[in-house]
Subunit: 239 residues, 2 copies
């Protein structure tokens, strides 16, 4: 089957939560496609990305639910992707354009990129539509910069067994720690060891219901934290 008969895939970043942080392009693409593909972590779970999209446009087109188990287990992930990919391919090969919605930006810790590579390798057109990242929006809500002048910025994912975290905190001016919710106590210990607790702000559910911006980490109860919680460490500034 040639390129011309297939639809096109768009990986659309919808921003971190506030529907107004969608870009004009994201809105146009979502309005123009035939179908919206939505990643879910479980079949009965709400999709935050879809909630954002629904706030901005009328969903008068089919929604393709793709279930990605939230796990690092390769077999479970492999099964999830295989199913998701085959549904996506089927839709694209019907000649339908599909927008896969993803929180924040598709190039930053998004499941989308796996699909993107596979779809491109299958000879089908795919385009990434960038979005506002959660860490930029979080810094904006906290009223601070992520980097100025000659400062460096490190972005570290939720894997806090990360052997380099100590050296990153030593050598970088600003550090973003993503998805800290389940690791807050461990991370606080590390920050304390580096005397950086006073230089840290926690932002949870940025732009969403229940948003929290807190510089006093001791006031935050780990158990109540959303998965969407980020810490920003600024070496040069008490927060």
């Amino acid at each position: 089957m040639g390129l011309n008969t297939c639809g096109k895939l768009f990986g659309v970043g919808v921003g971190p939560g506030d529907p107004e942080l969608l870009t004009l392009k994201a809105k146009r693409v979502l309005e123009s496609v035939d179908c919206i593909a939505v990643p879910r972590t479980a079949e009965d779970r709400d999709s935050t990305a879809l909630t954002i999209v629904s706030a901005v446009l009328v969903l008068d087109k089919p929604v393709l639910d793709l279930v990605f188990p939230m796990t690092f287990d390769k077999t479970a992930l492999g099964e999830g992707w295989k199913t998701a990919l085959s549904e996506l391919l089927k839709t694209l090969r019907q000649g339908l354009d599909v927008a896969f919605v993803t929180l924040g930006d598709p190039t930053i810790y998004s499941t989308y990129m796996y699909l993107h590579r596979t779809i491109v390798e299958a000879g089908i057109e795919a385009e990434i539509v960038p979005g506002v990242t959660s860490f930029c929006a979080s810094a904006a809500r906290a009223g601070i910069s992520l980097a100025e002048n000659r400062e460096t910025l490190a972005v570290v994912p939720s894997a806090y067994e990360c052997a380099h975290l100590d050296s990153i905190l030593d050598s970088f001016d600003n550090v973003v720690l993503m998805k800290v919710a389940r690791h807050l106590e461990t991370v606080r210990e590390t920050l304390r060891r580096h005397d950086l607790e006073e230089n840290t702000v926690l932002v949870s559910l940025c732009g969403q219901k229940g948003e929290l911006v807190e510089t006093r980490l001791e006031a935050v109860r780990e158990k109540k934290l959303s998965y969407f919680t980020t810490l920003i460490v600024k070496k040069g500034r008490t927060l």
Copy 2:
């Protein structure tokens, strides 16, 4: 003068170049304010941020030109800021709302944050409206991710005398090198030393006229490069 009689300052990220990468919120704020403040590096230079804004909305309101010399010289910068700040304060104290437009996102290497802090300290309301960063848009154009799963991401500014660059390239999975234009040969040498030239993509003028996406660094002529040139290094992948 109290808070109520002053206007409000918005630091608005307009994205890296493509006017469609403006957010819905940025557009609404730009439409609603009384005045748009535009940073310029010299009085006769065009403002890229204003060009982006003009493409999306009718500029039927006053534009306040603020000149910031493009230099690390503190005296020259100090004079520029002093003048810019006093013009901005005058406008806000007239009760006018002002949107200061900035390329990309205001929290990432933007002049805006200095103004933000000073305005907030003066007891005037200020809000940061996040935008799409140039590095996210560049990765999107190159069709690659900036970070996946447990990968780390480092963002390094144009100061390539940076003593840590070698250790950053050693320890990070993905590295963004901002504003490389004048330093391309030095940076290429460093990349070659780390055997990373084949893992690097150069993106220049992302989403603007004259855009360039190039994985063969040897094909790029340094002299012709725009100031808005970024390198993305992906340790785990040949590009």
